[in-house]
């Protein structure tokens, strides 16, 4: 097993309030890792550390290190980093542009202006996100006209278009209906062929369905991290068991 990204002794403060306590965690390459835990346990915060989105909050302070390609990303350039580590958010957030322009936005921003190449990127990304067949005839319509599930797949396609190594997903299905959710889940399982996926979810069954590994977090600490099977069937920690059996949370 090869680590894709790992955090060592990670502490995070929002102002004076500590949100992450000495977190050590390792995510494997080309695997889907789910992060579960009750609300406010720090799983989204941890996820947003991995591509340094937390830094948009002015009061946020981080110590420790996060190694990606054996380099501490907390000292690297966040813009370059985010090209490698993409993110999909809770709410689908396509730009108020056409479907095509949404996908082509990232590559263009990174200096790709060749129309032929852009066309290929757009087509491949949409195909990878299982959206191509639904939108291929209306690529130049506004992305805001798509349904919620389609919008979320568009956002995934948009992330794929900059060809990252790792894709972070922050409860990507929580705003969607069950049918759209199952489509996204299928898509996520397909993605691990090429990408490392880290997904935060509230939905236990979803974690069992899509993930290879599962980490359980509680009050800003990683309690346990193992194969998904093990976590859900035979967890080492009592706390984990309580949580997955619904005794709290």
């Amino acid at each position: 097993m090869t680590p894709a990204i790992q955090a060592n002794h990670l502490n995070l403060f929002y102002g004076t309030k500590q949100a992450l306590f000495d977190v050590d965690i390792l995510f494997e390459e080309k695997k889907i890792t789910a992060l579960v835990g009750p609300s406010g346990c720090g799983k989204s915060t941890l996820l947003r550390c991995l591509n340094r989105m937390n830094e948009l909050i002015p009061t946020c302070k981080i110590s420790g290190e996060i190694l990606f390609r054996s380099e501490n990303i907390l000292k690297a350039d966040p813009v370059e980093l985010r090209k490698q580590i993409g993110m999909v958010f809770q709410q689908p957030n396509p730009f108020p542009k056409s479907i095509y322009d949404n996908i082509a936005y990232g590559p263009r921003a990174h200096g790709e202006h060749d129309t032929g190449k852009l066309d290929t990127i757009v087509e491949n990304s949409l195909k990878s996100a299982a959206l191509w067949d639904e939108v291929k005839d209306r690529l130049h319509d506004s992305a805001l006209g798509l349904s919620g599930g389609q919008q979320q797949r568009l956002c995934i396609a948009r992330t794929l278009a900059v060809s990252p190594e790792i894709i972070l997903m922050d409860e990507p299905c929580s705003a969607l209906d069950p049918i759209a959710t199952s489509k996204i889940e299928t898509l996520i399982t397909d993605l691990k062929q090429k990408y490392t996926v880290i997904i935060v979810t509230h939905n236990m069954p979803q974690a069992t369905r899509v993930s290879d590994m599962t980490g359980f977090m509680y009050l800003g600490k990683v309690i346990e991290m193992d194969e998904t099977q093990t976590i859900f069937v035979n967890p080492a920690e009592k706390l984990t068991q309580h949580y997955i059996t619904g005794k709290f949370g």
Binding site: E80, R82, Q84, G86, F95, Y105, A109, V162, P164
Partner: protein, 630 residues
């Protein structure tokens, strides 16, 4: 077509020919009607609208306003070239770049800029900017198109900044996160996602700023040179010009009532009103689009995305900028700057995003700093020169020697009287209308029409209120020049602001409160009186204070209706005229040749009064915001 034999073909042909003959006759009659109508209208208008010669005292008199319209548009264009880049950059700075503490400083500064009365801008433009331009550019007179455009640009800045800031603020934070998570720089995010998403709101801001510039009278009249000519050549920014509003401001006090010239001035006012109506309707439409969440309509999107359109827009913008710069800085520097911009435009795909971000933020900081510097220069000049004039004698004495000696007590009290009267008249009407809009009416044709009417009233140039007040109260009702006429004109002018702020305040009261009250069996009026109005009171108060500030600084609505040049005692009868600070400053600066500390002193008192009122509004708003959100 084998089934068509020859005769059928002939018949079809014949039918076709006959049909086209009838079509032709129909077209002829339509064209004839259009031609006759057009000719009649053109003939009627050619003496007025398409005639460039405004010379009402010539023999024979000529009332062509084409030059006035063109000058108005040119001055406005110049103002926009100056204020749009500065304003947008500052709005971007406030909404996206500034650290919170800086934002808390810059925002009130912009609001102060909005609070400076236009007559003070005119005074500053005349005394400081005019002579500066004259010396710096070595031109005969600093009173010119360029000076007017700069001052109007400064005056349009607060409108452009605050409206576009609102638009930028309304853009969902999601866009920013989405874009940044793709490894895109913050600047690229701002320029390629956030600004385009706010396009409607930002264009509305620009158009409202344009309306502000077109409707301004006092400042432009004091610094534009007022020659009713089209600049020759047309890009000669150093030529004197005369706008529609300035024509009204200057000549209304000069003409004999009911003369041809008098009616021609009302014609000018009508054209002015039409132009501002058009502007307001456009911005209204844009803001509606913004609120309904749609961006540019599809067709417009296609335009903006087509390469040809972009190149065309860039070319036009480039030409305008080059022309303006070459007039101001000389041809060489203009070429250098244009080359730099061009190099940036065409090389921007080559330069690294990092560098683009750094340089763009640098420009944004510079623009914001420039805006603050402008305010600082104006205030410093006026306070440094004016404070020495302030003395007990100056504040409490009566004017002597045409205002060159003595004090301005009657003017201070007169201004307060005018404002107090205006607010007393307008508050009940404004609050009542707002209550009707939000509490009683459902969205229908009538309320929509009333609301649009209110928005349009809001954009009406203040001089038009003065003109109306003069023709109706002073002449038709034969009240003469009197305080009451001025109070009513000011009341009309601030009415839309009162209605709008009250409406906003009422809307911000959560519906659950109303339902709770109604659920307890209270009547609607009881609910409004006991629940809704008290919770909305802070917002209403803030709106009222801001309106008072605006009314206190206005000159155009009162100069024909309410004020006299000098007066010994305080006015005690609403049918007697008053003295007022803004008019006093205007009259002093235009009739008394020497610039004295008395001028500056009057400006200081006026600014201090208005700023005190604005600060009261800002602080009361902050106070209530803290209270409500705690």
């Amino acid at each position: 077509m084998s089934y068509m034999d020859n005769t059928t073909k002939k018949r079809v042909l014949r039918e076709g020919v006959i049909k086209s003959i009838w079509l032709a006759t129909a077209l002829i009659s339509a064209v004839a009607v259009a031609f006759i109508l057009g000719h009649v209208i053109c003939t009627a208008l050619s003496g007025f609208l398409f005639n460039t010669n405004w010379n009402p005292t010539g023999t024979p008199p000529s009332y062509g306003i084409a030059a006035l319209i063109i000058d108005t548009l040119l001055v406005t264009l110049g103002a926009l070239i100056f204020s749009v880049p500065l304003g947008l950059a500052t709005a971007v700075y406030i909404s996206y770049v500034a650290p919170p503490r800086m934002r808390d400083v810059v925002k009130p500064v912009i609001e102060l800029l909005a609070g400076i009365p236009s007559v003070v801008y005119g005074f500053f433009g005349m005394i400081v900017l005019g002579s500066f331009l004259q010396k710096a550019l070595n031109i005969p007179s600093g009173a010119c198109w360029l000076a007017a455009s700069i001052i109007l640009g400064i005056m349009a800045l607060p409108t452009i900044i605050s409206v576009s800031e609102d638009a930028l603020f309304a853009i969902p934070k999601d866009y920013k996160e989405a874009s940044l998570s793709l490894g895109v720089t913050y600047w690229h995010t701002i320029s390629h996602v956030l600004l385009p998403a706010a396009a409607s709101g930002v264009s509305a801001a620009v158009i409202l700023g344009m309306g502000r510039a077109i409707g301004e009278t006092m400042a432009v009249m004091m610094i534009a040179g007022n020659a009713a000519i089209i600049p020759n050549p047309i890009w000669n920014v150093l030529s004197p010009v005369r706008t529609l509003t300035a024509t009204l401001g200057i000549e209304m006090t000069e003409v004999a009532t009911n003369s041809m010239h008098y009616y021609a001035l009302f014609g000018v006012a009508t054209i002015l009103l039409l132009i501002t109506l058009l502007i307001n309707l456009t911005s209204y439409w844009l803001i509606k689009r913004m609120q309904t969440g749609s961006c540019l309509p599809d067709r417009m999107r296609n335009w903006t995305h087509s390469e040809g359109m972009r190149v065309a827009v860039a070319a036009v913008a480039g030409i305008i900028v080059v022309w303006f710069l070459s007039a101001v800085l000389g041809i060489l520097s203009a070429v250098v700057i244009t080359a730099a911009i061009g190099a940036w435009y065409f090389g921007r795909e080559k330069i690294s995003p990092k560098f683009a971000e750094k340089s763009s933020f640098g420009i944004i900081y510079a623009c914001t700093a420039a805006v603050i510097l402008i305010l600082a220069i104006i205030l410093w000049d006026i306070f440094a020169n004016g404070l020495p004039a302030i003395s007990w004698e100056f504040l409490t004495g009566r004017p002597k020697q045409c205002g060159l000696a003595g004090g301005i007590f009657t003017a201070i009290v007169g201004t307060l009287q005018l404002v107090a009267g205006a607010i007393l008249i307008t508050l009940p009407i404004g609050i009542g209308a707002a209550i009707y809009f939000t509490e009683y009416s459902h969205e229908n044709l009538l309320t929509r029409a009333l609301r649009i009417g209110n928005d349009l009233l809001n954009g009406t140039p203040s001089i038009v209120f003065g003109l109306f007040g003069f023709a109706f109260f002073v002449i038709y009702l034969n009240w003469g020049t009197c305080m009451l006429a001025g109070q009513i004109c000011l009341a009309f002018m601030i009415l839309p602001t009162i209605i709008r702020t009250t409406e906003e305040a009422l809307k911000s009261v959560p519906n659950s409160l109303r339902e709770a009250s109604l659920g307890l069996g209270a009547t609607q009026w009881q609910t409004i009186r006991k629940v809704v109005l008290p919770s909305a009171a802070p917002g209403i108060l803030t709106g009222a204070i801001l309106s008072v500030g605006r009314a206190a600084g206005e000159t155009a609505p009162i100069m024909f209706t309410a004020v006299v040049f000098s007066k010994r005692f305080i006015t005690r009868d609403v049918f007697d005229p008053v003295m007022a600070l803004p008019y006093h400053l205007f009259a002093l600066s235009t009739t008394v040749p020497d610039v004295t500390t008395q001028h500056y002193g009057t400006a200081v008192v006026l600014i201090a009064l208005v700023i005190a009122i604005y600060l009261a509004a800002i602080f009361s708003r902050r106070h209530f915001q803290k209270k409500l959100f705690r």
